[in-house]
């Protein structure tokens, strides 16, 4: 297989970030795009499997950064979209408010509770996670702040007794509540070791003045981001294309110093050539595309900023329900399912 001429190869594989606007941003999909030059542009499985690589750069409990190389923007974007919108998660959907004398309105309180991320949830449409929140600020005591750690998991389901208007139920049977759990959730193997709690204990839910009280039960159910942002397992997930900084000519001496000082993220280094100094690109990955290095007269002739079209630096920030790497594999699974 022949090679494309360099300018076409640049168009095909790089986004050129010029001073005024980025050009060649689209990927060239058509298999016969370069047919006249005898070059096949079709996507081939073998070529893909040879070239495709994933390199994890950083992996923490809550976030990860990895490089996905040799893939089309459309596919990378699919992963991003699935991560954002389609991964299921548990979030508080229904709130039964028994008492709320605080200044925060019931529906605002419920909305805030919904956005509290829950740790260790195993998304399961058959299950409901029940939380209880009962805080009281005694008269005469100072104001208190209700934080998310006040949410207590009720493995045995609701404790609120259903109010029945016709008082015919006999006293012997268990009082009717809002849930019917066949067994305690604590006995489910996944939760034996890890009880369900909010991921962060210090999220402010409400503030109570003396004499105010909140008593409620919250029911978390499974859902996806498409319905509401609270069912999002990621805070955000995005990618950027790998930056590539090319020095079009040798930049020496004072110009090199100028270039080095121009860059706010310290992209360039200066190497000592003995008789003079020359600028080199040391950390292209750090480029934020502030375009300072191509600002000013003639600099666009010396430095070119590119983005590699098939190299994606992916970042996933988890909200805590699942570790980020699991989230990504889940996303892959969902993509597989949709293709099937």
């Amino acid at each position: 297989m022949g090679q494309l001429p360099p300018h076409l190869e640049l168009q095909r594989s790089r986004v050129s970030c010029n001073k005024d606007a980025p050009i060649h941003t689209e990927s060239i999909q058509y298999s016969g795009a370069y047919a006249s030059m005898g070059i096949d542009n079709s996507s081939r499985l073998d070529r893909f499997s040879n070239n495709f690589r994933v390199e994890v750069v950083r992996l923490n409990e809550d976030d990860m950064e990895f490089d996905m190389i040799g893939i089309d923007a459309a596919i990378a974007n699919s992963f991003r979209r699935i991560l954002i919108a389609e991964l299921p998660k548990m979030a508080i959907e229904k709130v039964l408010i028994a008492n709320n004398t605080s200044i925060i309105q019931d529906e605002v309180l419920a909305h805030r509770l919904g956005l509290v991320p829950i740790q260790n949830d195993q998304p399961n449409e058959k299950n409901t996670i029940v939380f209880k929140l009962h805080v009281q600020c005694k008269r005469g005591s100072p104001r208190i702040t209700v934080k998310s750690d006040a949410l207590k998991w009720l493995p045995n389901g609701s404790e609120l007794v259903k109010e029945t208007r016709n008082a015919t139920s006999d006293s012997s049977s268990k009082p009717e509540t809002y849930t019917y759990f066949c067994c305690s959730q604590e006995t489910i193997p996944e939760f034996v070791k890890n009880p369900i709690i909010p991921k962060y204990p210090d999220i402010i839910i409400a503030k109570l003045g003396p004499g105010q009280e909140i008593e409620l039960e919250a029911y978390a159910v499974k859902g996806i981001r498409k319905t509401h942002a609270k069912w999002s397992p990621v805070a955000t997930a995005w990618y950027r294309m790998l930056p590539e900084v090319v020095l079009l000519e040798d930049i020496e001496d004072d110009l090199a110093e100028e270039l080095k000082s121009k860059c706010p993220v310290n992209l360039f280094d200066i190497e000592d050539l003995g008789k003079g100094r020359r600028a080199t690109v040391a950390r292209p990955r750090a480029c934020t595309l502030c375009r300072e290095c191509i600002r000013g007269d003639d600099w666009e002739k010396r430095v070119a900023l590119h983005r590699v079209k098939d190299h994606f630096i992916f970042t996933i920030e988890s909200t805590g329900a699942l570790p980020p790497e699991v989230l990504f594999t889940e996303a892959v699974k969902i993509l597989e399912d949709t293709n099937a």
Partner: protein
């Protein structure tokens, strides 16, 4: 002489400068000349004066001084029948706000009044002295603290309980510390007396009328009378126009009637210039032509021209009617003592001279729109007028009652005049009624004005503030004139150049600028004597000719001629020096008018003025150490005033000053330096960041919209029971603030949110200013708002027969119980319950019989009541929540129940949003976050704005706000964008913002590299993206959307009802009809105008053409005039048409229908 003096001064200063040139260079480098940050003066100023200081000062003046003056002027009631019986007021004062119910006096606070629909008022207490008894035994008695009425109290005034309270105490009283006060609480509603703009009283104003005749007019206003005097030049002759005379009077006749029998003296008074005598000559000739040479002849002539007075009094007959008019009505502001008319003659001479100057030189004409010729009437003055009227009426009534008692021959008890006073309710009810309706109808002062008070708009905090600074115009709004609407250069610093409504009131309704102060009246007496001490020559001692001698200036005090002075500049400087030393009131203005050769001294109320830093030869008196002392708290704003560092200048005196914007721009001639340039804007325009970069109408639009933005209203917003309340769930303080925002507290009670905005064209649903919103942002609470509505209060009434309304326990079972689910056991809806349409809020029953025989409410059977349930009628499908239920006692002592219903809304398609730059737009589409573009840092915008919004609007300020906001979030410091703030450091410069952006890895121009959320590829442009403060406006689709299929109809015409509130139909109007006719869609017209509107079947008699009726017995139509059914046809007609025919018939007009084809 005066001019020469000045010249010498100038020369001196020039000489000094020449000698100081080497020193001057050093001075330029010295820190003094570099701008001292005078900004701290502003918060200090506002701390001393408050945001609505004009209202408060005015009311305080009335309460402390004005009311006493009124009572002192009318302090005696003397009986006509027995003059030895009298009542005298010794003192008057306003007590503490309180309320007396059943003899028990209770202190009240404003918030309690708001909630229980009371009037926040304080008793007017008087000390009186009176004669009790009659015939032989008369005793002089004294009574202290007698209540003669209740005066509504302005919040935060000196009588208010809130005065001087700190934040904690205010909170305890249920009051918001940021609330400015300055309004009244009348029957539970907050009422503001708008500032009224008026032409100056007692000043000579020269202008031309429609015919081009030159007028000199004076609107006189003294304690006794109010009148308007016009002297007009018509066909080269000069006339006097006065209401009391039937026709215009030759001016020379008037002069002669006032004792100026010699024509020469009049000419001398005008001055030596032959041009003036030439102008007067035709008038002298005319006077001689009608044969009037002496005072007696003139008065006799005037007597024939005088209008017959409405009520003849004995005094006027004695002296002659014309004489009285000349004395009391003609230029009433010039007092006539001991029938000495000379001051009046001189005044007329000055008027004539000014007029002739205007004829000779058109520039001498006065500008009516000039702010210096205007006075602002504030609540204190208006209430004082009202009180004076009511007080006099009360006195008259009391006198009448005393006389009627005295005229009775047999009396059982001794007469006590104070009894009558106590019984009078005029003052209380009169004040309350006038303030609550806003109709000032004061016969005594011929004042009939409507809409003087308005309900304080509590839509947003800033709207409330804006209401307090609003100045309403003197003219009616319909006048199509451009002059008063145009921006006047003299408005600078006094009235906001941006804040005016659009439409008919544009330019007429104005708003005060941030530092404006409106003066109150000041005593003239000491000023007069001071002026004479400073060398003013009394006119009494001068001959007429000396009036206009070229080497002297006239001295006028509040429109009155005091005398003349030979060294006006010296005199003015002396007065100013005294003022700066605090020996004369700080608001007294001295203005040397070189053109008119006059020194005007003003101490009257209603002038607008503003504080300025005094500069000596261009060097500011405020030095670094003064500001340091201010910051340390050892120096207050008042100290600056009393130390002569700062002074108040009114619009006229500004003409004698050369004011530099900044220290650096000051030249040796500079006399004053502005405190801060952004204070030329008002409160509302002050919210706009970088307004000086915007096209000016955009700032005006924002001023209108800022008042509609939702946010926080006050700290006590959740304790209020307003009829309509819009709140934002998560309001934020703007990332890009201004100094004004911090001064007024908008950062604490914001009305908007900082949204990350990307300026792209996206999805096609963003044309015509629509915005695209991110669904996830909305999920997280962006733009979420709470609407609270107060359902009209329900009163549990007691009836005259002893029966009362009652509230019943709700039914828990059976039919109807499903509507009572939200009721508590006491029959009142409980807070926190979710309400659905038709739910019952109050299970109330009303007795059937409310009159007649007395019954006990306990013994009434259930059958004697009928249910009057209050149910919720909201739109179907919308679920609201009962927020609060308030039980209070109303004025009649009945239980009143109010429900506050809450609805939380998230933004939806069609809701209106706006940035702070007059760029409003509706939400066009809501899009999922994954479809939204994202930046290299993973930032996803909250909303997308179409770039087409920029080129034609030229809101560069918005772009800078975006840049500044972006820099602000990256470096963690709030950026500033105060108006004209770049030189003084109150606005960040674009260059520094760009540097900050670059430092944090952004492009200097704020444009980011963005990926498309749909394709995943980068966009082919860098996108301008960053945070902009967005306001949610009160116009929401939910309140407006309306459609109807079938629905209610109007009873009379049987046509569909009108309006959304009545579920009305959508009208095919005249123009729509015209379109359909032109197009020829006849069946559609038929369907719209008849079938879908009000079809009606009528019986028409083909013979007589009248309408008949359908007889159900005979199953046929019958014509009632032909008495048979032979020729009756059935046809369809709009019911309105049938109605018209019948109405015409009732007026003896017979419309006959001629049917072309019928069966």
């Amino acid at each position: 002489m005066g001019l020469k003096q000045e010249d010498i001064l100038n020369k001196n200063s020039k000489n000094l400068n020449v000698s100081e040139i080497p020193v001057d260079k050093q001075k330029l480098a010295a820190p003094i000349k570099s701008a001292v940050d005078k900004f701290q003066l502003l918060p200090e100023f506002l701390k001393v004066r408050g945001l609505v200081k004009q209202h408060l000062d005015s009311f305080n003046y009335f309460v402390n001084t004005g009311i006493k003056k009124i009572v002192r002027a009318n302090d005696r009631i003397v009986s006509d029948i027995d003059p030895s019986i009298y009542l005298r007021f010794k003192d008057v004062r306003i007590g503490e706000p309180s309320m007396t119910v059943d003899g028990i006096t209770e202190k009240i606070n404003p918030h309690a009044c708001r909630l229980s629909e009371m009037t926040y008022a304080a008793p007017i207490l008087v000390n009186i002295e009176y004669i009790q008894g009659s015939h032989g035994q008369k005793t002089r008695l004294e009574k202290n603290d007698l209540v003669i009425g209740r005066m509504p109290i302005m919040l935060r005034s000196c009588c208010c309980v809130l005065q001087g309270k700190d934040e904690a105490e205010l909170a305890r009283l249920g009051e918001c510390p940021l609330d400015p006060g300055g309004y009244f609480v009348i029957k539970g509603t907050e009422k503001v007396i708008l500032i009224q703009e008026q032409l100056s009283k007692n000043r000579i104003i020269i202008d031309a009328d429609k015919k081009g005749n030159i007028n000199a007019s004076v609107t006189s206003s003294s304690e006794a009378t109010k009148s308007k005097t016009v002297i007009q030049m018509e066909k080269e002759k000069i006339y006097l126009l006065l209401n009391q005379f039937v026709k215009k009077i030759p001016i020379m006749v008037v002069m002669k009637a006032m004792g100026m029998e010699s024509d020469q003296e009049v000419v001398q008074m005008l001055g030596r210039d032959p041009r003036f005598s030439a102008l007067l000559l035709p008038s002298i000739e005319e006077c001689a032509g009608i044969g009037i040479y002496t005072k007696e002849q003139a008065l006799a002539y005037l007597d024939t021209k005088a209008k017959r007075p409405l009520y003849a009094s004995s005094a006027s007959d004695q002296d002659g009617r014309a004489f009285c008019i000349l004395r009391d009505v003609f230029i009433a502001n010039v007092p006539v003592r001991c029938n000495n008319f000379r001051p009046k003659c001189l005044y007329v001479a000055v008027m004539l001279r000014r007029m002739m100057e205007a004829i000779l030189n058109k520039d001498a004409m006065d500008d009516k729109d000039y702010v210096g010729n205007k006075r602002l009437e504030l609540s204190g003055q208006l209430i004082s007028l009202l009180f004076e009227d009511l007080f006099k009426t009360t006195l008259a009534q009391v006198k009448k009652s005393i006389d009627s008692v005295l005229s009775k021959t047999s009396r059982s008890s001794a007469l006590d005049p104070s009894q009558f006073l106590r019984r009078m309710e005029f003052i209380t009810t009169g004040l309350e009624r006038t303030l609550s309706t806003g109709n000032f109808d004061i016969q005594r002062f011929r004042m009939h004005r409507k809409g003087m008070t308005q309900v304080l708009a509590r839509l947003s905090f800033i709207g409330t503030l804006g209401f307090m600074t609003k100045v309403s115009p003197q003219f009616e709004k319909s006048r199509k004139v451009s002059g008063p609407r145009a921006l006047q250069p003299s408005q600078w610093g006094m009235l906001c150049p941006c804040d005016t409504p659009e439409g008919e009131a544009c330019g007429l309704v104005k708003n005060l600028a941030l530092m404006t102060h409106v003066t109150t009246d000041e005593d003239e007496g000491p000023l007069v004597s001071l002026c004479y001490c400073l060398g003013v020559e009394d006119l009494e001692l001068l001959s007429g000719e000396e009036l206009h001698t070229p080497n002297s200036f006239l001295v006028m005090l509040n429109g009155l001629i005091l005398g003349k002075h030979r060294r006006p500049q010296h005199f003015a400087n002396a007065l100013r020096k005294l003022r700066r030393a605090g020996k004369v009131g700080e608001f007294v203005s001295v203005f040397v008018n070189e053109k008119q050769r006059c020194v005007y001294i003003a101490s009257d109320g209603g002038r607008v003025c503003r504080p300025l830093v005094i500069a000596d030869k261009g060097i500011s008196r405020i030095k670094e150490h003064h500001m340091k002392e201010l910051l340390d708290g050892v120096r207050t704003f008042d100290d600056f005033l009393s130390d002569g560092l700062i002074e108040y200048l009114d619009v006229n005196e500004e003409n004698n000053a050369l004011i530099a914007l900044y220290e650096g721009e000051a030249t040796p001639e500079t006399t004053h330096i502005e405190i801060e340039p952004f204070t030329i804007l008002g409160v509302i325009a002050g919210l706009i960041p970088y307004p000086h970069h915007n096209q000016s109408p955009r700032n005006t639009y924002q001023c209108a919209m800022g008042k509609q933005a939702m946010g926080n209203i006050a700290y006590n917003q959740l304790c209020r029971m307003d009829t309509l309340l819009y709140l934002l769930v998560y309001p934020q303080r703007p990332l890009l603030t201004t100094r004004t925002i911090e001064l007024v507290g908008y950062d604490k009670l914001g009305a908007g949110q900082n949204a990350t905005v990307a300026v792209i064209s996206y999805s096609g649903y963003d044309i015509e200013d629509a915005i695209v919103m991110n669904k996830s942002s909305l999920d997280r609470g962006f733009g979420r708002c709470i609407v609270m509505k107060n359902r009209s209060s329900n009163v549990i009434q007691k009836y005259e027969n002893g029966a009362t309304d009652r509230i019943l326990r709700p039914q828990r079972t059976g039919p109807g119980s499903e509507k009572m689910l939200i009721l508590d056991d006491d029959g009142i809806a409980s807070p926190g319950e979710i309400i659905r349409p038709n739910d019952i809020l109050l299970n109330k029953e009303v007795p059937i019989h409310t009159r007649g025989t007395r019954v006990s409410s306990d013994s009434l059977p259930d059958s004697a009541y009928k249910p009057v349930r209050q149910s919720y009628k909201g739109p179907e499908g919308e679920s609201c929540v009962m927020d609060r239920v308030s039980l209070s006692t109303d004025r009649n002592g009945n239980l009143s129940i109010k429900f506050l219903i809450r609805h939380t809304r998230r933004p939806e398609l069609g809701d209106k949003f706006s940035s702070r730059h007059g760029q409003k737009g509706v939400c066009g589409i809501i899009i999922q976050q994954e479809d939204f573009p994202f930046s290299e840092r993973g930032i996803c915008p909250d909303l997308i704005m179409n770039p087409h919004g920029f080129p034609s609007r030229m809101t560069v300020g918005k772009m800078i706000e975006l840049l500044g906001g972006k820099a602000g979030v990256s470096c963690g410091r709030f950026h500033y964008g105060s108006a004209f703030g770049e030189p003084s450091g109150h606005a960040d410069k674009v260059e520094t913002i760009s540097e900050t952006l670059v430092k944090h890895g952004f492009c200097y121009n704020g444009k980011d590299f963005i990926y498309s959320g749909i394709t995943g590829c980068p966009l082919q442009a860098y996108i301008f993206m960053g945070p902009i403060y967005y306001q949610k406006l009160k116009h929401m689709v939910l309140d407006k959307m309306h459609a109807r299929g079938n629905g209610p109809r109007v009873m009379l015409t049987r046509q569909p009802t009108e309006g959304r509130a009545r579920k009305g139909g959508l009208r095919v109007g005249e123009m729509e009809r015209d379109c359909l006719i032109a197009y020829g869609a006849s069946m559609l017209i038929f369907e719209r105008l008849m079938v879908s509107s009000d079809p009606f079947e009528v019986q028409v008699c083909r013979k007589c053409g009248l309408l008949g009726y359908y007889s159900h017995k005979l199953k046929t139509g019958i014509c009632s005039s032909c008495k048979n059914g032979d020729d009756v046809s059935t046809m369809q007609l709009p019911y309105a048409c049938k109605l018209l025919i019948q109405e015409l018939q009732s007026m003896n007009i017979v419309p006959r229908l001629k049917l072309a084809e019928a069966n």
